[in-house]
């Protein structure tokens, strides 16, 4: 057995110096955060590895938007799977509305003021009007033939009028963005109402067309990695995609606070995925049990240092 390293800190230490210490500690949350940086460094710096990013939770209202943009701009990610809400929050910021720090939990009062709460952040309800004003002319540009949700998100991404958007950044770098449950969202509902208005507005968006694309991406890669923030559809879609190759994803990192005991996928250990063939016995995996708004900035700032040195 290896001894637990007692973590050393010093004034002015970098986040990567800290993460290396945590990695050496080797146990509990410390060891997991440290290992997450180590595994992601391998996955991202390996040219043969396709990195999937599962984006759920509440990242933009939690102040993580620029980190997402940087991850894409720095070339860390090869494919993204997300939820409708993650896109809504992103475009809302891109259109100039800031999420706000919400200092009350008096929801009735907030409702009267037209403020929508997301735990301790919030969003003015009129952000949705701005969103709809932007959306409708964009929907006019959506091709009327059968398209996939990925293709639909490409149209959205191309028409975002600001660089301040992870979706625009991903689309401009040709990173595919999947979102099988996308239309369950504010943007989904707005699109539905547009679509209902008459034959001219009828959109032919297939729920099926892009479902196999992540599988193909995995099959066409020598190695693949699953980097997962939160659970839900993004987690399932990414790890399921590796079930159709023998060795599963080579790397896996998830950040979650969900519990495993009730059996739901969101709280499941990545290790469980070995039984399904979603990961292999030799895969390097780690579950970071943490609020992603704490763990993600720490891990990604460490990775920035490490990956910039390795260039």
């Amino acid at each position: 057995m290896k001894p637990v390293h007692q973590v050393k800190t010093k004034p002015g230490m970098t986040t990567d110096e800290l993460c290396k210490e945590l990695s050496k500690a080797g146990v509990m949350g410390a060891g997991r955060v440290g290992k997450a940086v180590d595994v992601l460094e391998k996955a991202i710096s390996d040219k043969e590895c396709t990195v999937f990013f599962g984006l759920a939770g509440c990242m933009v209202p939690g102040g993580m938007q620029q980190i997402l943009i940087d991850m894409i701009n720095d070339g860390w990610l090869d494919a993204i799977v997300t939820t409708g809400a993650m896109v809504v929050h992103d475009i809302v910021e891109a259109l100039g509305t800031k999420h706000e720090i919400c200092d009350t939990m008096n929801d009735a009062e907030l409702h009267k003021k037209g403020v929508n709460r997301l735990f301790d952040s919030s969003l003015p309800q009129n952000a949705y009007m701005k969103l709809e004003d932007w959306l409708r002319p964009v929907l006019d540009k959506v091709p009327r033939e059968e398209i996939s949700i990925r293709e639909f998100l490409e149209v959205l991404g191309k028409n975002i009028p600001s660089e301040n958007s992870w979706l625009k950044t991903a689309v401009s770098k040709n990173i595919p963005v999947f979102s099988p449950g996308f239309f369950d969202s504010g943007l989904g509902v707005m699109t539905y109402f547009y679509h209902q208005e008459g034959p001219k507005n009828h959109l032919n968006i297939s729920a099926l067309k892009d479902i196999g694309e992540p599988i193909k991406l995995v099959q066409d890669s020598k190695k693949s990695a699953a980097f997962l923030i939160g659970g839900g559809v993004p987690k399932n879609h990414i790890i399921q995609a590796a079930q159709f190759i023998d060795k599963g994803h080579t790397y896996g990192v998830q950040i979650t606070t969900d519990r495993p005991e009730p059996g739901g996928l969101s709280g499941a250990s990545l290790h469980e995925g070995i039984s399904w063939g979603k990961f292999g016995e030799a895969s390097e995996m780690v579950d970071v049990i943490a609020d992603a708004t704490i763990a993600l900035p720490l891990i990604t700032s460490a990775l920035k240092e490490r990956l910039s040195q390795s260039k």
Copy 2:
């Protein structure tokens, strides 16, 4: 202020007698379980109330399938929103494969034996072959014109060859089943591969067609209720549907172990929904912080007693 009632128990007490005691306690988990029964009793017995059921998590592998079937057969539910996995697990059982109690967490060994683990339950991998054998002729019957995911699920439900299925039960009772992220699932992938095989198999399943139906159901109802197991798409889809009426859902009960602090919707309090207009200031709501495989049997068996008496 009201005193906390000290819960009284006795040999042979019924689950409803217990839940009434918990309701009188009025605080902590006890009070929440008790209130959940009270709120659901009101919602279900109110003829003017449309009850939405959000079904996520891991209920069939957790032994809750018959409870789901009973809830539908007893007329408690008016609409269901679910995930692909919930349908997979249900049909697997309907086709005769039992989920199993998994006594090992040695996932590499399980993989070699062809056993897929879901925390401490499991499923033989060959259940998926049986599922695909059943699915392909059913897909031949799916209309080739544009259909919604709800309509697709109706076709599946009608063709399940056993009463041992919550989906079949729902479909046979004309309860709409929505699942915006459905194709992110084993059934989704199988359907995709079928669909890819050539123009004859091309399915035209719209990601958009039924998105507004839950909204319309709420708008057409005098009152509505959200009964939510777990989070994810089902929770969002159901509570979002009430944002388009003034008073929001009249009743809300959720059972979850997710934490609210990281800001994700799955762990969010229902109360937060008031700020969004998903619930109103006068709505009766309760968050039960519990493993649904504990809370659901307790709550529903109590409700069975209470609702059978009220007939």
Copy 3:
């Protein structure tokens, strides 16, 4: 492998009928609650088994006082380890102050009103004055020679002027009550101030005198059981006591919502105790991940039925 039983419920079913169904389910929270009843039934009905009860958390303000009293009166428990707060809350109720349902989280306002909050229950601050008025003449009766904390708690228990107390019930039935951290509590502070007032009031309460008594109880028993609500000192004290015999505790049931990953004892699995010799390889153990105010009433009401039948 054994199939997961799909739980059957019916109107008017008893809590024990439900727990038997959960036990047959065999997985997730359902299976754990069911197993807890099964293990406790064995432990309690086994005349050769000494049952230790670890009492932490917030049980009396959570409405669980009568359940605790019944457990003692019904002869289920042979020794109790608890915290100072559990004793404070118990005596407060015995002296006639009810905990209350707290409908606000405005703590500044509560403070102004003299109301102390415990999540969503509360206690008027003047309950502490009543407690002190009762305590001082009781302290006059405490022997001045060296006594243990257990002996101190016996004096308290004997002088409680109401049957409405788990401590009085335990003391009257000669159940030893241990509490190594007892003086960290409101009663501890009051006792300290009394003790400081002069040589006449000087109490000689040994922190050490009863530390080995639980060990001796285990050593003198053929079998022993650990039934634990919450963690902290009670959990450690009880499971540590079995480290000095070869086979550890024969039975173990804990109810907790604490997480295991940060490594603290409160969230640790009982299974981990096997490595320490606190439990043996053959011990029957279960961790119920649940709010004890939900799980305890369900489990104990089922046990009442089962144990009354077995008489």
Copy 4:
């Protein structure tokens, strides 16, 4: 309302630069970690503020020992309240046994090998023999008159033969260390057996003698702070100590993963303490919901930078 700042990261950024960004984010876990650094900076750099440190959980086996030693050496802490286990783990390391990274959860096998598991770290059972060999001659030096637990811990601390100990460091710097539940621990049991061996070994350790000392420390300070890792006795003892002054502790930071809903103190928000007078309406407080082995190194390394600059 203030906008949520979108966190900026860069290669080579220091942990304090990151924490300042998190503080600016202002919401969710990010905002809480950032605020924790801000509040602790104020508390520690304020010469009029007495800083209490509550030390529970599993810090030394989790690789946090050096961080604890540094916090004391850097003059951040004025009083410590801890558990018996924290002292055991500390002295074990000081005596030369390293905690180890445990790569199996096969507890029966570990038991056969004489290895005690603490989640994913472990300790060889023979560390306890070494501990006892060290302890007995130290106990010979313990004064036989009535002493407090604090005084007992001073004797232990003075006799630790290595600087590699937070307890020795604290004692050598005259930082009082309180531990009301101390004798519930391996060291407690060893001391008990020694004490039992005959009148010569009889120790007169009062459970009561130092209970009021934290209260006096608070009363004698212009301001006070509660910095809490985990819950249990240390948390209660520290926050309770401020109930006897009007304004409560001026500052409060806790790091925990415990849930508040079941009502136990360990998971309670610090804010709740306002109702009790443990904190005041104007106190600056934050609950960091995180594994302390992640949050503590991040927070303390940032503080090191910030406090070294302020000198």
